[in-house]
């Protein structure tokens, strides 16, 4: 694998690390199966891309994309909390609606950003290759986001949100407005995915209507891989774990792309990725068994 591929995996992995953090909040903290991300990820990308296309500052565009996606998440939450629609269903409804909304936002299925200025071109330091600078910029961003999340969940509000997902009945009896907690959590979760989408569009040359397909699968894969490689009851470790999980997943894809020497063809990419991910998930199990054998 080339150095370029490695940096590329890190770059895309970190972007999806943000998605993984968002999915961690909805699926694990709030216990809310949220498929909105398949629509909010591209919404962030679409909004940012169309604004940049019309000359807005890329940072402002990224910010607006993030907020728009967060708002979409709040609507999903509202459908569930206020209209009492089942959580999974509410998120699917939102995801479907966002397809049309995203097309409207872009006024086209595709908005290219190849020749536009992006947050990356603005932040590009001289003397560093762009394919190295981007992952490094993302690394700083993801670390900051992770630390902010860790701090947030250690606050009273954050703890209230965690209890909402863990035991909503008990949370309510402690005076917590669980409905508001769900709205807040869904907003933050989808905002993170929108931020990821905005950054993805800017690093990959544009926003495309199909860029969201499968986002939830990647997010969940990252969470699951992360949790099995770095199991911990401490949230601060889990936030680190899911980001690592996202990077590892992209790394596996890159590995799979290079697997043609074993006689595998391009079409086998998904199969190879699945095998590699399965191996990653099974390793902790094997470690456990070996440990037990050693004890005996």
């Amino acid at each position: 694998m080339s150095v370029y591929s490695l940096w590329g995996s890190l770059e895309i992995g970190l972007i999806f690390g943000l998605v993984a953090l968002g999915v961690l909040i909805s699926f694990r903290v709030l216990n809310f199966p949220d498929l909105t991300v398949d629509g909010s990820f591209p919404l962030g990308g679409a909004a940012a891309a169309i604004l940049i296309h019309h000359g807005y500052d890329p940072f402002v565009a990224t910010g607006i994309g993030t907020l728009a996606a967060g708002f979409a998440g709040v609507i999903t939450g509202w459908l569930n909390v206020r209209l009492k629609i089942m959580d999974l269903l509410a998120s699917i409804l939102m995801m479907i609606a966002l397809y049309s909304i995203n097309l409207r936002v872009m006024d086209a299925p595709n908005v290219p950003l190849i020749t536009e200025s992006t947050v990356f071109t603005v932040l590009q330091p001289a003397g560093l290759h762009d394919y190295v600078a981007r992952p490094l910029i993302l690394l700083v961003l993801v670390v900051v986001v992770k630390l902010v999340l860790d701090w947030f969940f250690a606050t009273q509000v954050g703890l209230a949100m965690r209890s909402t997902g863990s035991n909503p009945r008990m949370a309510r009896s402690q005076g917590i407005r669980t409905g508001n907690m769900v709205l807040l959590g869904m907003g933050i979760s989808n905002a993170l995915c929108g931020l990821a989408g905005a950054l993805f569009a800017q690093s990959q040359g544009g926003a495309d209507i199909s860029m969201g397909i499968g986002t939830i699968v990647i997010g969940l894969a990252a969470v699951i891989i992360g949790e099995s490689i770095l199991p911990s009851r401490r949230l601060a470790i889990t936030t680190l774990a899911v980001v690592i999980g996202a990077v590892l997943y992209r790394f596996f894809v890159a590995l799979a792309l290079n697997a043609d020497f074993v006689g595998l063809k391009a079409q086998d990419l998904n199969l190879v990725t699945a095998v590699l991910v399965t191996v990653a998930l099974v390793i902790p199990l094997i470690k456990q068994r070996l440990r037990r054998k050693r004890v005996e």
């Binding site: 370029y4 950003l113 690093s203 397909i213 890159a254």
Partner: protein, 322 residues
């Protein structure tokens, strides 16, 4: 003893040097990527391969050829682009718009030849018409729409309303729809649109046009081409003539198509690749549109859809499908 090991190291070094030197100076490498597996896009890839072979570049002669498909996923397309750039091939061939964007965004130095992109300027692959001056050139599959409209009028001279089924998520199709919205009224026709965001929606979109249109035109939309049989069912049941823009659809049930032969498009693309392998700079080569259009007709389908084709049309066809 020392002499023995010294001799061994000398032989070893010589072998290594020899192997490095033997890495042929002609070992050219071409990396090809497509967004998805699809008959038209696959035909392009094969055409490129064929053009290379015709010019003497084959695997047997040391050509390193690799192909990766992004399985319809943009994140994978991005990683493929990164991988290719890391492999440092002599040329990267990118088939279809999202793939081309990912590759062009990933490198400003490695020559990129795009193919099957309807509007490369709107996709920001090249700054305008003519030589790009950057590392990008390619072949667009844009069809001159006026000729398409002429064909429609030849097949259904009394038509007033033309329906179009397309995927609103596909850049190529949206471009065509936008242009038809302006061109059709000039010919005294109205456009009625029906969207099919997924392949499974094609049939329903076609049915929604029944009773509202006199003919249905479709372009090389990925969803439509994948599910063309669904369209044919509706066309034959409701007697709505179908006109396509890709010649493969004619044997599947379209009455006529004036289209790009995607294999030829691939060959045309491959010829650009050959020029670059021989030393030309991509920025000096102006990007092209498909040079050959072919007319395929299917009189049997015409009869089933309630239309008789004029003899002059059948005679002018490149191929008559039975």
């Amino acid at each position: 003893m020392i002499l023995h090991s010294a001799l061994r190291s000398l032989v070893g070094t010589a072998a290594v040097v020899g192997a490095l030197a033997a890495a042929p100076a002609q070992a050219q490498s071409v990396a090809v990527t497509s967004i998805v597996e699809h008959p038209a896009l696959d035909a392009v890839k094969d055409g490129v391969h064929e053009a290379l072979a015709t010019a003497g570049y084959t695997e047997a002669k040391g050509l390193k050829w690799q192909f990766q498909t992004a399985q319809g996923n943009n994140a994978i397309a991005a990683q493929i682009a990164r991988k290719f750039v890391g492999d440092k091939p002599d040329v990267i061939v990118a088939i279809a718009t999202p793939t081309s964007q990912a590759v062009v965004a990933a490198t400003k130095t490695i020559p990129v030849v795009f193919s099957a992109v309807t509007d490369p300027v709107a996709a920001q692959l090249v700054p305008g018409t003519g030589p790009s001056g950057i590392n990008v050139t390619g072949v667009s599959d844009a069809l001159p729409l006026q000729k398409q409209i002429d064909l429609i009028r030849k097949v259904v001279p009394n038509a007033k309303k033309i329906g179009m089924v397309y995927n609103p998520g596909e850049a190529n199709s949206v471009v065509v729809v936008k242009q038809l919205r302006e061109l059709l009224p000039k010919a005294g026709l109205t456009l009625v649109e029906a969207t099919a965001p997924r392949t499974v929606d094609v049939g329903a979109a076609a049915r929604s046009l029944v009773g509202k249109v006199d003919a249905i035109y479709t372009n090389t939309d990925n969803n439509v081409v994948s599910a063309y049989e669904a369209l044919v069912k509706v066309g034959e049941a409701a007697k709505i003539p179908l006109i396509a823009a890709d010649t493969d659809s004619v044997k599947r049930g379209a009455i006529a198509a004036l289209g790009v032969n995607y294999h030829d498009l691939g060959v045309q693309t491959g010829q650009l690749v050959v020029k670059i392998l021989k030393g030309a700079k991509p920025g000096d080569l102006p990007w092209e549109t498909s040079s050959k259009l072919e007319l395929y007709v299917n009189p049997g389908a015409a009869a089933r859809q309630g239309v008789t084709l004029p003899d002059s049309l059948i005679k002018s066809a490149t191929k008559v499908v039975k």
